[in-house]
Amino acid sequence: MINPKDSVKLAMALSMTQDVELSCDECFEELDRFVETQLAGLDAAAAMPLVEHHLRTCDGCRDEYQALLSALRTSRGSLSAKLLWDRLRDSFRSG
């Protein structure tokens, strides 16, 4: 008999099941746009609900999404730090 832990996993998956879902490839195609929308401070889930749904239901795609988000947040953070440093340096020079 199916054990309770697995029954819960299956019931949760069924509760999130929609008639129309993106496949992993379709989600992957949209992932860069989804992450950039999110990093721009916009509501990516509202703009791309099928991508958001797939990311909630697919562990593999969610891992890749979170890794991409970390990568881009870091690169934007380092870019902001560089801009800050350049401004500080300019203000010292001008002052």
Binding site: M1, N3, S7, L14, S23, C24, A67, L68, S75
Partner: protein, 207 residues
């Protein structure tokens, strides 16, 4: 590093500036991979070097598919994350066969303690048992053997889709669709029987 528009990346990677553009892209990819996997993989520098190299090959192979809907570097980093996770999953699961997982699942379901929660009242335990039997009946009646194996491997035993797909002689995309069809069939059967997933969760004490 030279700042580039999407068009400049494409032109440089296709033209005389290709080597310089590849070197610049490699820096971006390496930085992203390190940020994503720091503290999560052994020998980070060497590992991400390999991932970056494989990513550059894939980027060049797929340049024509870039639609310009994001920054080029975001698109390339998206590919790097797929490359990295594909390899990490392969390493983590390489010694596990599908049959081993199916057997492991069968065994865990036979253990009495897996089926009984001593904190529940006898009535709750009876209700859980009946619900589990009902769900199992739907699985047997509605799903193909392939769909049942996929549910056990991916949903119950946590095997990544692409690893399970490889063992089932299919691909990640097709396996996702197979599982989606299985979930839809089970959901429809529940509805036909006047049940809902939420009621199942309640019966299992998880809602």
């Amino acid at each position: 590093m030279k700042g580039r528009t999407n068009e400049e990346w494409l032109a440089d990677l296709r033209g005389a500036e290709r080597d310089r553009a590849l070197a610049d892209l490699r820096v971006v990819i390496l930085r992203g991979l390190k940020a994503a996997f720091v503290g999560r993989v052994r020998s980070l520098d060497a590992t991400v070097e390999d991932f970056a190299q494989d990513t550059l090959v894939k980027v060049l192979e797929n340049l024509d598919t870039f639609r310009g809907e994001s920054r080029f570097t975001t698109w390339a980093q998206r590919i790097s994350m797929r490359v990295a996770y594909t390899e990490l999953r392969r390493r983590r699961w390489r010694d596990v066969s599908l049959q081993e997982l199916l057997d492991r699942n069968e065994e865990s379901n036979r253990e009495p303690e897996a089926l009984t929660d001593r904190t529940n009242s006898p009535q709750q335990e009876t209700e859980k048992k009946i619900t589990a039997e009902t769900l199992e009946g739907f699985i047997v009646e509605e799903l193909t053997q392939k769909q049942r194996d996929a549910i056990v491997a991916v949903m119950f035993q946590g095997m990544p889709l692409e690893e399970a797909a490889q063992r089932m002689r299919t691909n990640r995309n097709a396996l996702y669709k197979l599982l989606h069809d299985a979930r839809k069939k089970l959901k429809r059967r529940l509805e036909a029987e006047g049940l809902s997933p939420e009621e199942l969760l309640k019966a299992f004490g998880d809602a």
